[in-house]
């Protein structure tokens, strides 16, 4: 009895699992509004508001004005993202700058949202798998667009009997991408949850150091890695 009750009390009410706020039925299927939905909505609304503010500010600017702090930060971000895509993709960069920048900003804000008390949306496998599948579709679409049927011929490339291994290699891309992002963010979330549960109400100040590592450092690295690997995989297919 004792072992089971301890186990369920640890696994059942932990603060780091996805919690459902509101349940409803739609066509016989039970659905719910989870913490992932709420956090993702907050992240998206935040990004959209920042984008609109940036757009309005940039529209109002004259070429002779001295740029303010906000404009400088926005220009720095856009410049950095553009440089990152340029460095990997070269002459094809202009086609992917929008998507890669959006991906990077979404993942980085999602990962950092753990600092502000949200459960990071990227700690839900449903979110990261979708991001991985978008990359997969992007890779395959661009491969077919560039090489036509040669795209499938590449699966038989060194010798024909390596076809199954090449096929697995293609389908491993979204799986490993999504699991990498999910695993990193989830491990940070689990560790933070355990540390918050450790001393209960006496948890004061010391988790901030771990937040800096797990949410900010690890989150930035993972956002960088995800968008970098997306670029590398796409560039593999479209390189001249």
């Amino acid at each position: 009895m004792g072992a089971l009750s301890l186990y369920t009390s640890v696994a059942g009410e932990s603060s780091f699992m996805i919690s459902t706020f509101y349940k409803f039925k739609l066509g016989g299927v039970e659905l719910g509004i989870d913490s992932t939905h709420v956090a993702m909505l907050i992240v998206s609304v935040f990004i959209i508001i920042m984008a609109i503010i940036a757009r309005v500010k940039i529209n109002k600017v004259n070429a002779t004005d001295t740029p303010g702090t906000f404009q400088n930060i926005i220009e720095m971000i856009v410049d950095m993202l553009g440089g990152m895509v340029d460095g990997i993709m070269g002459s094809n960069a202009y086609r992917f700058k929008n998507y890669i920048s959006a991906l990077f900003i979404f993942i980085i804000i999602s990962n950092i949202s753990g600092v502000f008390g949200l459960r990071p949306p990227t700690a839900d496998y449903g979110v990261t798998l979708c991001l991985g599948l978008i990359t997969f579709v992007l890779v395959q679409f661009n491969g077919i667009k560039k090489n036509k049927l040669g795209h499938f011929g590449a699966l038989f490339q060194p010798i024909w009997f390596l076809f199954p291994i090449n096929l697995i290699g293609e389908f491993a891309v979204p799986l490993s991408l999504s699991l990498r992002l999910f695993g990193n963010v989830m491990s940070g979330t689990v560790l933070m949850g355990l540390i918050y549960d450790l001393l209960g109400p006496y948890t004061v100040a010391y988790p901030s150091l771990l937040h800096a590592y797990f949410d900010i450092f690890s989150g930035c690295i993972q956002a960088y890695v995800f968008s970098m690997l997306t670029m590398v995989y796409v560039n593999d297919k479209i390189a001249d």
Binding site: M1, A3, L4, Y7, T8, A11, S14, M17, S176, L179, R180, F182, G183, N184, M186, S187, V190, I221, Q222, Y224, V225, M228, L229, V232
Partner: protein, 84 residues
């Protein structure tokens, strides 16, 4: 002491989760080797530091994947409880 089947499965799942996290050894060693070689590369060619750094981070992130598979197995054993 009587242990019911359900309790036994819970206990074994917890032990299995612990064993699955041994997978963390490999990426630790691999990332350490990558960081060491990155440091020596920067020592030999300090001008290429940013490029070496981004290559190293990318390689480390890819090497980390196997450890994260172990972590995913551990999480599933602990919280999803596939064996009931």
């Amino acid at each position: 002491m009587n242990i019911s089947g359900q309790e036994f499965i819970s206990a074994m799942s917890a032990i299995g989760a612990g064993i699955a996290m041994i997978a963390g050894v490999g990426p630790g060693v691999g990332q350490g080797i990558a960081a060491g070689h990155g440091a020596s590369a920067v020592g030999r060619n300090p001008g290429a530091q940013s490029q070496i750094q981004s290559t190293m981070l990318l390689g480390q992130a890819v090497a980390e994947t196997t450890g994260l598979y172990g972590f995913a197995v551990a999480i599933i054993l602990m919280f999803v409880k596939p064996f009931k």
